[in-house]
């Protein structure tokens, strides 16, 4: 049962905090470093990776695996060619069809319990048997079944948060009433930080974040207009290797490697 690889779950209290941006670019950063990575879309209510990565047709989706309709091999899509000179990138996507979204939001507790079992089984099938180095899971915000299932299966939970007051408050509660209860290693990424150019200001923000959340800060990402301008059409770290955002993602990936 011992695996070398890690399951990293990206979660947040509110929507629009940058979970998907973080997940995709973190996975891509690991691949650029020669790792074998699987990126999974667990946001069944609002799937986004399929559109973002332009894979809108598939015979099997992650929904089918959780439904027990197929094994995980059938779901994996090889996108290794998207990253130049790297390791391997596979994705497991959530079904975009409205019917599938409706179906996933009407599942009962017994189904969710089985889905948790199938998610936990990925440690053996993907990390141990197929030799993946990282599974990066993008999730729905807040206390959704699929997200909590992912959190339970995680080795590390990255909580994406912003300075928005309701987000700060909700994130604080989740830290103590969700991640702590499951005894999960949790790290904060503060996104969309304004005026973060001076190192003094960055240090002040870091101290402030640690005081508020009483949890380690994994990264601080300034608000980059270039990221917004890309409109989710590119894998940012791949297309803009010299951009400060790419450098920050590199630092975050190195931190995770050493955890």
């Amino acid at each position: 049962m011992t695996s070398v690889g890690k399951i990293v779950v990206v979660h947040s209290y509110k929507g629009g905090t940058g979970k998907t941006l973080l997940s995709v670019n973190l996975a891509a950063t690991f691949v650029k470093r020669g790792r074998k990575v699987c990126l999974l879309d667990l946001d069944f209510r609002a799937p986004s990776l399929a559109t973002l990565l332009n894979v809108t047709k598939s015979n099997y989706w992650l929904n089918d695996y959780l439904n027990g309709a197929c094994e995980i091999d059938k779901v994996l899509v090889d996108l290794t060619d998207r990253i130049h000179n790297g390791g391997k990138l596979f994705v497991a996507l959530a079904n975009l069809a409205t019917e599938a979204i409706r179906d996933m939001s009407a599942k009962d507790r017994k189904w969710e319990m089985r889905a948790l079992g199938r998610l936990l089984a990925l440690r053996n099938s993907l990390l141990n048997e197929k030799g993946f180095d990282y599974l990066v899971m993008d999730t729905s915000p807040g206390l959704q079944y699929s997200s909590i299932n992912a959190i339970v299966s995680a080795d590390l939970v990255i909580v994406a948060t912003t300075s928005d007051r309701s987000d700060v408050d909700g994130t604080k509660r989740m830290l103590h009433e969700l991640y702590d209860l499951f005894e999960k290693k949790t790290e904060i990424v503060l996104n969309k930080v304004l005026n973060a150019s001076s190192s003094m200001r960055r240090e002040a923000i870091q101290t402030n974040v640690k005081d508020i959340y009483q949890a380690p800060l994994l990264g601080l990402i300034p608000c980059f207009c270039d990221v917004l301008k890309a409109e989710g059409n590119i894998i940012f770290v791949e297309e803009k290797p010299e951009h400060p955002f790419t450098k920050i993602m590199g630092e975050i990936a190195s931190e995770i490697d050493h955890l």
Binding site: R109, E112, G117, R118, L120, Y145, I148, V152, L181, F182
Partner: protein
């Protein structure tokens, strides 16, 4: 013939001792269940509740000591009290009591294979 009969006789006390031990273990388990029932003032309940799925929301609402046991079993899928104790680094007897309590609450199933008692979330569960 005489030798064989002697061998059979020699094995008999061992067999009897084995049976006694098995029965004592069963008795012990029944007592653990009764103690748990008493603790929760549920003398009226003679049969375990069925169909109380061990989903994440249920895990969240559990007391910490039971959640730890339940999560270890979720990870393993099917395990003995010994195997759970290895994961949680708590004593086997403690885990045995908690597992039996989770059975009473209807979250787990218990099955015997020879002398060992296995606990599982349910048959189809992968873990």
């Amino acid at each position: 013939m005489a030798v064989k009969a002697q061998e059979a006789l020699g094995k008999r006390p061992l067999h009897v001792l084995e049976k006694i031990r098995e029965n004592l273990e069963k008795l012990n388990e029944k007592m653990e269940v009764m103690i748990e029932l008493q603790k929760h003032d549920r003398k009226d309940v003679s049969l375990p509740i069925t169909d109380a799925p061990l989903d994440v929301m249920t895990l969240l609402s559990m007391p910490d000591h039971l959640r730890k046991t339940a999560m270890a079993l979720c990870r393993l899928g099917r395990a003995t009290a010994d195997e759970i104790a290895q994961q949680t680094t708590r004593a086997r007897a403690v885990e045995s009591a908690y597992l039996n309590q989770l059975v009473i609450m209807g979250h787990l199933k218990k099955e015997r294979k020879g002398r060992k008692a296995y606990f599982c979330v349910e048959k189809e569960y992968k873990g």
